[in-house]
Amino acid sequence: MTERFDDAQLTRYSRHFLLKGFGESEQAALRSARVLLIGLGGLGGVAALYLAAAGVGDLTVCDHDAVELSNLQRQIIYGDADLGTAKTEAARSRLEGLNPDVLVRTIDQRLNGDRLVDAIEHADLIVDASDNFETRYALNRTCFRVGKPLVYGAAIGTAGQAAVFVPGNGTGCLQCLFDPEQDDPERDCHSAGVFAPLTGIVGSIMAGEAIKVLTGFGTSLAEHLLTLDARDMRMRRTLRPREPGCPICGTGG
């Protein structure tokens, strides 16, 4: 198995190999993994950095925005010199600078319809770091239709949450958690603000969950919802509700 990683890679990932239960086959699983990451904001940027650092082999990042000054309060993947540049391009150069082993692909537009289905079909795992419910529901719907695991995270104000949805495991989907009819589309970071490091915490947890799903290592949040409030630093992990009549995941997924 050793010949599968060269010396530089053995050094690079040495702290993984020292972990009990995380060997070269787990690292190889990361290397051969194709991850689709939607949204390169506060959540997606940090998730992408840790996925690239950990050695995910093929990372597709999707965002249609350019870097703005107000992003830099929390989106550490960018810097002053990236202002006005497409987020996907700025992220690509940062990720390749961190780990040249990672193939970074970029999609510089909003994905929907057939293009979204294609992108999801091409991936082994989808990370939902988007900032709007329309995209979230579309990702959830398509992942369940195509049968791909979905790592979800959200952050607003000082509150954050994360979960993993795995089609077919009977633990529900995003739509079992939320009612699309009742969402308040006005409540987003533009109006409510967001505490800078909160997005990083949630984004790093999302990266950790993605690594667990891809390697089969540990227990992911596949049945639970993690909620946290950074204001008082309270964290809770609760069993997720599931809707037996859910139109997306059917009889509870």
Binding site: A53, L69, Q73, I211, H224
Partner: protein, 390 residues
């Protein structure tokens, strides 16, 4: 006579007016000088040491600035009229010794009394930190506090990478970093501050490049040295918060002891394989009396009990999450919001995606942090191995 003039005449009878000279003498003797003018007026200048509370939120904010109802207060506006109304409001709240400055700031300035031009956010900062300014918990005042804050991180590794990144992004004005290592290829699996092309450089230099690229306005102070008892106080002095991201037990004791002695909050985190812990050691904080590291571990373990020196494995993203949690605690302390993790320890089990909170028992006889303790002195422990390399 108009109603306002009648009311003013009444107020002049009930509120003692003082000259700027008298007000300055009272301020020097311990009175609180409260400037109730609007933000744009204050931006032009305000007496040195004044509480700039403004008029609209005066009643809501004054108690934080002046908790003692019997402390003398001198109220200032631009010309000495609004300050009479404001003084009356303070009297109604229960303040017993309220005065108004006759002639206000214009007379204060003309007489050559000391004032300063307070720092305000410029248009660029307003845009950069827009998402913070929107939050009631932060706002412009909070953002200014962050810009004037100084945070020292010990260790530019797995914990220090994300915490320094987010503190720089959030607008902490001065960030110091202590580390004497160079960037190694094996760091890149988790230490996102560093990159392929900084391998071989001192970590503080690599950190400086990454943090200034993110926020070129940051004041970064590199301490490329090893902390010991001879330099710890000199390095720590001037900082508001210390962040312990060290991988070394001897250094951890040193950080603890210096923080206790200097009254500095110590935001502590440690990572081992898939587990991490986080707490704030800050014996002086509020009612919690949360104790210090030595309350939990009075002394380093003897060499034969110490964990192996071999480097331990760590899931790449683990120190990331913990380092970010440290950044949250730092910002809460700097902004004075929420409830810091004093007296509580957050334990994170990444494998189970589970957070649990433990109460920390304070040692009432701790030779370092018990009330009235005389500082026992620093100990330069020989390298005690702890396999918590993060």
């Amino acid at each position: 006579m108009k109603a306002k003039d009648r009311r003013l005449a009444e107020l002049r009878r009930s509120i003692p007016e003082v000259s700027p000279e008298e007000a300055l003498a009272m301020q020097k003797a311990g009175a609180a000088l409260v400037d109730v003018r609007d933000t744009d007026e204050i931006a032009q200048g305000s007496p040195t040491g004044a509480h700039r509370l403004g008029r609209s939120y005066l009643e809501l904010r004054v108690e934080e600035a002046v908790p003692d109802m019997d402390q003398p207060i001198v109220v200032m506006c631009a010309g000495g009229v609004r300050s009479l109304f404001a003084a009356d409001a303070l009297k109604n709240m229960g303040y017993t010794k309220v005065h108004s400055i006759a002639g206000g700031f214009s007379r204060w300035k003309n007489e050559g009394r000391p004032f300063e031009v307070p720092k305000m956010l410029d248009a660029e900062a307003r845009e950069r930190y827009a998402r913070h300014i929107l939050m009631p918990d932060v706002g412009e005042a909070g953002q200014l506090k962050l810009l004037n804050s100084k945070v020292l991180l010990i260790g530019a590794g797995g914990l220090g990478s994300p915490s320094s990144y987010y503190l720089a992004a959030a607008g902490v004005g001065t960030i110091g970093m202590v580390d004497h290592d160079v960037v190694d290829q094996s760091n890149l699996q988790r230490q996102i501050l560093h990159r392929e092309d900084t391998v071989g450089l001192p970590k503080v230099e690599s950190a400086r490049r990454a943090l200034l690229a993110l926020n070129s306005k940051l004041n970064f102070v590199a301490h490329e040295t090893h902390l010991d008892s001879s330099n710890v106080e000199e390095i720590f002095s001037g900082y508001d918060v210390i962040v312990d991201g060290t991988d070394n037990l001897a250094t951890r004791y040193l950080i603890n002891d210096a923080c206790v002695k200097m009254g500095l909050p110590n935001v502590h985190a440690a990572v081992y394989r898939f587990e991490g812990q986080l707490t704030v050691f800050w014996p002086e904080y509020g009612p919690q009396h949360g104790g210090c590291y030595r309350c939990m571990f009075p002394n380093p373990p003897p060499p034969e009990m110490a964990p192996s020196c071999a480097e331990a494995g760590v899931l790449g993203v683990m120190p990331g999450t913990l380092g970010l949690l440290q950044a949250v605690e730092v910002l809460k302390i700097l902004l004075d919001i929420g409830e810091p993790l004093v007296g509580r320890m957050l334990h994170y089990d990444a494998l189970g995606a589970r957070f649990t909170e433990l109460k920390i028992r304070t040692n009432p006889n701790c030779p370092y942090c018990r009330e009235g303790a005389e500082f026992p002195g620093y100990e330069d422990y020989a390298q005690v191995c702890a396999s918590t390399k993060s």
